[in-house]
Symmetry: C2
Subunit: 213 residues, 2 copies
DNA sequence: CCGATCTCTGTACGGCGTGCAATATTGCAC
DNA sequence: GTGCAATATTGCACGCCGTACAGAGATCGG
């Protein structure tokens, strides 16, 4: 019934989707190795090459999956457009921080998967709602993507598995040579919170202010 | 005369600095391998471990070198503070794009080297000049860093060695399914220019507007 | 001159991505 | 049913990678 085409050869024991599934499951800070994924699937490494051209394809597929873990429907609804952008951005940030290293991955490949397009479309709609002409709305969309991914990547690198409180405490106790960097030393209590969700929201709000000024 | 301490053992044939030198020279999209650097130095790979604890240390050292390639003095002078931020940001972007992959590298390690601190201090001073209270100036500094590194990283990933014109042309000829993403399709000519310096400056200006609103 | 100390090398281990030929399995045409 | 062509999976191999470890040679203070 649901047998696909009448092509000869043995049945496939896997699928690209299943491979990405377990790669995602194994994902922890880094994209798992081909051999690691194969081992978890109880299969020789080369078997994966039946389903994927190379490791880069696995990475690309992972990017799209990860993007889908933040619910794009947060960009819909009847809340204010700013609220929706903020909520979605925070959700995405959360996903990228929980999956350590995911941010760097997202950042390393051009995002042209279907999920990326969907998010772009909805951001675009939001900015047009906010009164921007289409051209500026497009630019604003990219600016927001940059800010969200950039912040998530830096925070993920700095965090490295620790909780937000631990990271702040660790930074707070850093010694800044006040004779060379007086302003930095003076404002260091704030700089210690650079990688918090609070700072994330603050930056995002500032950017949105500037975009619709 | 300049002989260091009277410590036994043969003279060192290298130095950490020299290693970073040739690593930078060999850098092209990715941090060169330990073995590659050693080969270029005419030495066995393990020799490098006399000067560096591990490969991560090489990466960290490279980050600081790369950061220094954009002249921090661009943040000084008597031009308007906005102009200085913009000029420095563009210079840094240029460095990160010329050295493909450098952006991702900068982004993957917490930046706490001396060069990073210097840049931070000067940005801080600029925002205080602009009238922000110290706490907000600190936050603004980070927001700018995020935007610059984020944009450079995404652009570097998308560019992959091609010129700006080639990238724009390639994106322009992409087919966007208008029935699913009407707004995206409509504004695609703009989206094709997302990774240009022009868009970079536009986003940065918007962010600065929002920061000092 | 001795012994301590340090640099550099030889060798090796375990991991990686992946190319290639062989093997086993299947569906289709006859 | 039988043979054929297409296919999935494997075994093996290659050339990379980072780096641990022990030993050889150089260079110093005493």
């Amino acid at each position: 019934m649901e047998e696909k085409s009448g092509r000869p050869g043995p049945k496939r024991s896997l699928s690209a989707g299943r491979i990405v599934d377990v790669a995602l499951e194994l994902f922890d800070g880094e994209v798992p190795s081909i051999r690691g994924v194969a081992a978890r699937l109880g299969v020789r490494p080369n078997t994966l090459y039946t389903y994927l051209p190379d490791r880069a394809a696995l990475e690309r597929a992972l990017v799209d999956r990860l993007l889908a873990e933040a619910d794009p429907d947060l960009l819909l609804g009847r809340r204010s457009w700013r609220r929706r952008v903020e909520d979605y951005a925070c959700a995405l940030r959360g996903v990228l921080l929980r999956r350590r290293g995911a941010a760097a991955l997202l950042h390393s490949a051009p995002m042209d998967g279907p999920n990326a397009l969907l998010v772009g479309e909805r951001l675009l709609a939001l900015f047009i709602t906010a009164g921007l002409p289409p051209t500026e709305a497009s630019r604003a969309t990219y600016a927001v993507i940059v800010q969200v991914l950039g912040a998530a990547t830096l925070t993920a690198a700095d965090q490295d598995g620790r909780s937000e409180e631990e990271v702040v405490a660790a930074r707070q106790s850093l010694e800044i040579p006040a004779e060379h960097f007086p302003l930095t030393a003076q404002t260091w209590p704030t700089a210690a919170t650079w990688n918090t969700e609070h700072q994330f929201r603050w930056s995002l709000r500032a950017l949105l202010d500037g975009l619709v000024r």
